[in-house]
């Protein structure tokens, strides 16, 4: 299969402008004849649904929560990047583009990333106009902070709740359109299948989570804005409901899945404390502006952190990466933390932890300034651990946080299934093998506000509005398949709750397809997962019926899809015989333990094709060419 990314011709910095100038349009009078389904109401989905409705399209919006305002984006803490250069510190579109490509370890598309950097500036304008209360300086101008992988301050923030404020901005824009009758909002609906009619995406099947009703919905285009799949690991910083079902079901209907093994492990999360644990809590990367990471120099140190003298501490990030120090990118910081713990120098009851210390910042700035910057994060830390980070350092450890992989899309954000568009974390597009902090919010809003509204017209202008009929054979087949699957899940009637399978899946992926990977480990992982999937379908217990609110049934469907995805993640990791960004194959490392990329063989995007139940997936590749930036070894030293 040849993958055509449809990147416009011309110099990199002019591609998007030229694209917009030449794109085919739908006239204002005709827009209302087209129906668009938008699944997901996070930053990507809410911004797309609102913007499309403003343009005049008929929009149907879906989410599984009780309200669109509760999408997982709400939990983003630290900030959003934009190349505004308000600090006069040398930022520019070009520099944001370069940082993102380099941060992603040269495994993303130049043209997409450049466009992202270009529209970043419009996002901040839009959000401020909506009333997003970003942090300000005393003179009333917008404030910025620094995030990992950058040497400029380009991150805009609203205390430790940037995602909440951005999402509420998008939610309010969406609510306005719902109130105007331009968007039909369907909360508490879970998408369980994609309808592909004559090769094009024309609808979805949903389950109403309160009544259990299965229903088909038709449209002229379908947008999946359904977020990332990090919950495959069971323990993660994601909301508990985040899942892969929408994209996985689309994958099974023909959409290619790209770079599934690229998962981001965030260095600063609260460590695991027990078996029962249900989630890991992020301590925002912004803390690394002022917090310093260290472990004791000696193995098996027993003293409390504050009792360990300065000279006996190893500030390992500052030592290993002096030019970026504590603001080294996430993949690098996480691996460094793992390494010092592997050496037996980890702290806390499990030995899987490092300190994040604010004493120097408190000394330099005073406690009140530190409080002003991070109070809610310190409070959260206290809530969970019962400890005060003003008095002794935080203990942190890496945790699964974001997935760079996702459905393959071209420059138009369209998958290989015509009419199926994928936005936000659900697509693979902009972050390569490692995402920089504060860039997911930027990408979600870029896709929804400023990219998709242009590209979708190009597709729809070539389509005749199909109307809302859902009686064709493709719809009936998808409906039948969903009914059968629901019945099957309820009918296994085994002994084990879904959570037992999910935990085992998570542990297997963490051990074999986590921060460090080997051929042997991945092969073992695949063997375990194959067995686990079989056991699931023989022994899972899903109580209750399909005819009302049944949270066990919801979880079972999601875990069944995670089990299939888990195997693909391991296969992808196995076939990528190099190390890049988050993907660290122990067989491929430099003498000082950094990633050894193999550009000649692996400078590509993997794109997996589903070949049918029980058959191995087939991997296609989209070669990456770097015309503007020379492929270089990433260095943060």
């Amino acid at each position: 299969m040849k993958l055509d990314a449809r990147i416009p011709a011309g110099p990199l910095a002019e591609k998007w402008t030229r694209f917009k100038a030449n794109v085919r349009l739908v006239s204002p009078a005709n827009k209302r004849k087209y129906e668009v389904i938008v699944v997901g109401t996070g930053l990507a989905g809410a911004s797309a649904a609102a913007s499309l409705a403003e343009l005049g399209y008929q929009v149907k919006s879906f989410c599984f929560q009780d309200s669109p305002r509760r999408a997982h984006s709400i939990a983003a803490q630290g900030g959003i990047n934009a190349a505004k250069n308000y600090q006069n510190d040398g930022d520019s579109v070009r520099r944001l583009f370069q940082d993102t490509i380099k941060g992603g370890d040269f495994r993303s598309r130049e043209a997409n990333v450049h466009r992202l950097a270009e529209v970043s500036v419009n996002i901040i304008d839009q959000c401020v106009a909506q009333g997003v209360p970003f942090a300000r300086e005393y003179g009333g101008m917008l404030a910025n902070r620094s995030f990992g992988g950058a040497q400029v301050s380009r991150t805009f923030y609203a205390r430790g709740a940037t995602g909440q404020q951005l999402l509420l901005g998008a939610y309010q824009a969406l609510s306005r359109q719902i109130g105007l009758g331009k968007v039909t909002m369907m909360p508490r609906h879970e998408m369980l299948d994609l309808v592909v009619e004559e090769g094009q995406a024309k609808g979805i099947v949903t389950r109403h989570l309160v009544t259990g009703e299965l229903k088909t919905h038709a449209a002229d285009a379908v947008l999946l804005c359904t977020g990332g799949y990090g919950n495959a690991y069971y323990l993660s910083t994601y909301a508990r409901g985040s899942n892969v079902t929408a994209t996985w079901r689309a994958h099974r209907r023909g959409a290619l899945f790209s770079n599934p093994c690229f998962t981001q492990i965030h260095p600063t999360c609260i460590p695991v404390t027990g078996e029962y644990q249900s989630k890991l809590t992020l301590m925002s990367e912004s803390l690394r502006n002022d917090g310093r990471c260290w472990v004791p120099k000696a193995k098996g140190e027993q003293r409390a952190a504050v009792a360990i003298p300065e000279g006996e501490r190893d500030y390992f990030l500052e030592r290993l990466y002096p030019s970026y120090g504590n603001l080294a990118p996430r993949d690098i910081a996480s691996r460094a933390a793992k390494r010092v713990c592997d050496e037996g120098r980890g702290v806390g009851p499990t030995g899987l932890g490092v300190y994040l210390d604010f004493s120097e910042a408190i000394g330099r700035l005073g406690e009140s300034t530190v409080r002003e910057r991070y109070a809610n994060l310190f409070a959260m830390y206290h809530e969970i651990t019962g400890e005060s980070a003003y008095e002794s350092p935080m203990r942190i450890f890496p945790a699964v946080h974001y997935t760079m992989g996702g459905l393959w899309v071209d420059y138009h954000l369209m998958s290989n299934v015509p009419g199926l568009f994928v936005l936000g974390e659900a697509n693979f597009s902009d972050h390569g093998a490692n995402r920089l902090g504060a860039s997911a919010l930027m990408q979600g809003l870029a896709d929804g506000y400023f990219v998709l509204p242009y590209t979708i017209g190009d597709y729809l202008s070539q389509q005749k509005p199909r109307g809302e009929k859902t009686d064709g054979p493709a719809f009936q087949e998808a409906m039948g398949a969903t009914q059968a699957r629901t019945k099957k899940l309820l009918g296994v009637n085994g002994r084990k709750p879904v959570s037992e399978f999910h935990r085992k899946l998570g542990k297997t992926l963490w051990d074999t397809c986590g921060m460090s990977r080997t051929k042997k480990g991945l092969e073992e992982g695949l063997a375990i997962l194959g067995g686990l999937r079989e056991e699931f379908w023989k022994d899972v217990k899903v109580p209750g019926s399909g005819a009302d609110l049944n949270q066990s049934l919801e979880k079972a469907g999601r875990v069944a899809d995670f089990l299939e995805l888990g195997e693909l993640m391991c296969r992808d990791a196995l076939e990528r015989e190099e190390s890049c960004g988050c993907h660290f194959r122990e067989e491929h490392q430099t003498p000082d333990g950094e990633c050894a990329r193999k550009d000649a063989e692996h400078s590509y995007v993997s794109a997996w094709e589903f070949k049918g139940e029980g058959k191995p997936e087939v991997r296609h590749t989209e070669p990456l060419s770097f015309e503007e930036l020379a492929l270089a070894t990433r260095s943060y030293k």
């Binding site: 009780d66 939990a75 839009q126 609510s175 719902i178 909301a239 027990g274 809530e383």
Partner: protein, 248 residues
């Protein structure tokens, strides 16, 4: 650690509910309250019973999904925290906990601990926004906003829409929720053009949903996980009064 639970079980919106007692054993103080419910639910599942339905998503106090009263207190005993941020160290070994959904006419119970809070969304749809389309915005630094104003607007905007304010109020009033949005947008220059229509539309929508009146008891402020101040209500009342005066 061990707890005795009295949990509200209700099969559907139409059916009658009642309290059912469960023993939760083998707990540790570092477990969260919701993790304790997970453990109980896994046990119920193994025994072939339907687990307790409850809403939750982020489990870090920001999405506003989790919504239950523990011993009569919305979100449990800790100030400034949601149910998902309650840890078992807040309780005594052997304590009895009564767990209920929000109780309010405008929030009908759907199942067990799950209530329908869609009324809040409809209130926002009536006017809780700035009418600015994508692409219409001027440069973000074109209008300076004083740090103090921005901070105050944030305090109001931090509302997570959980509904604890309504659940705590003996009149089931939604004033704190509505006032938080009215104040957030009313404090900022961007929200001025629609300020008067906004407050009127939102108050009308609130009334239409069947929420009660505010009688200044301030129970809402006490349970608000984001500690939103009742000053916001005073601010909204002023805005409302001035909007009405304008019409005379």
């Amino acid at each position: 650690m061990k707890l005795h639970l009295r949990v509200w079980r209700q099969a559907s919106r139409q059916s009658e509910g009642s309290f059912v007692t469960y023993e939760a054993d083998g707990l540790t103080p570092n477990m969260s309250f919701l993790e304790m419910l997970d453990v109980v639910n896994d046990r119920l599942t193994k025994e072939g019973q339907e687990p307790i339905a409850f809403e939750h998503d982020c489990r870090e106090g920001i999405c506003g999904s989790c919504a239950m009263a523990i011993n009569g207190e919305p979100h449990g005993p800790n100030a400034g925290a949601t149910t998902c941020q309650v840890y078992l160290r807040s309780f005594r070994d052997g304590q009895t906990l009564t767990v209920e959904p929000w109780r309010a006419k405008a929030f009908p119970v759907i199942k067990d601990l799950v209530a329908d809070r869609s009324a809040f969304d409809r209130i926002i749809q009536s006017g809780g926004f700035v009418s600015v389309g994508t692409g219409q915005a001027p440069d973000a630094n074109a209008i300076p906003i004083g740090k103090g104003i921005a901070e105050k607007a944030f305090d109001a905007a931090h509302c997570i829409g959980c509904g604890a304010c309504v659940a705590a109020c003996r009149n089931s009033s939604a004033m704190l929720f509505v006032a938080a949005k009215v104040s957030h947008l009313g404090l900022l220059p961007q929200g001025q053009t629609e300020r008067k229509q906004r407050v009127q539309k939102m108050v009308a929508a609130m009334d239409a949903e069947g929420f009660g009146n505010c009688s200044n008891q301030y129970a809402c402020e006490a349970v608000c996980p984001k500690q939103i101040s009742v000053e916001m209500i005073a601010r909204m009342n002023r805005d409302y009064a001035s909007a009405v005066v304008d019409q005379i």
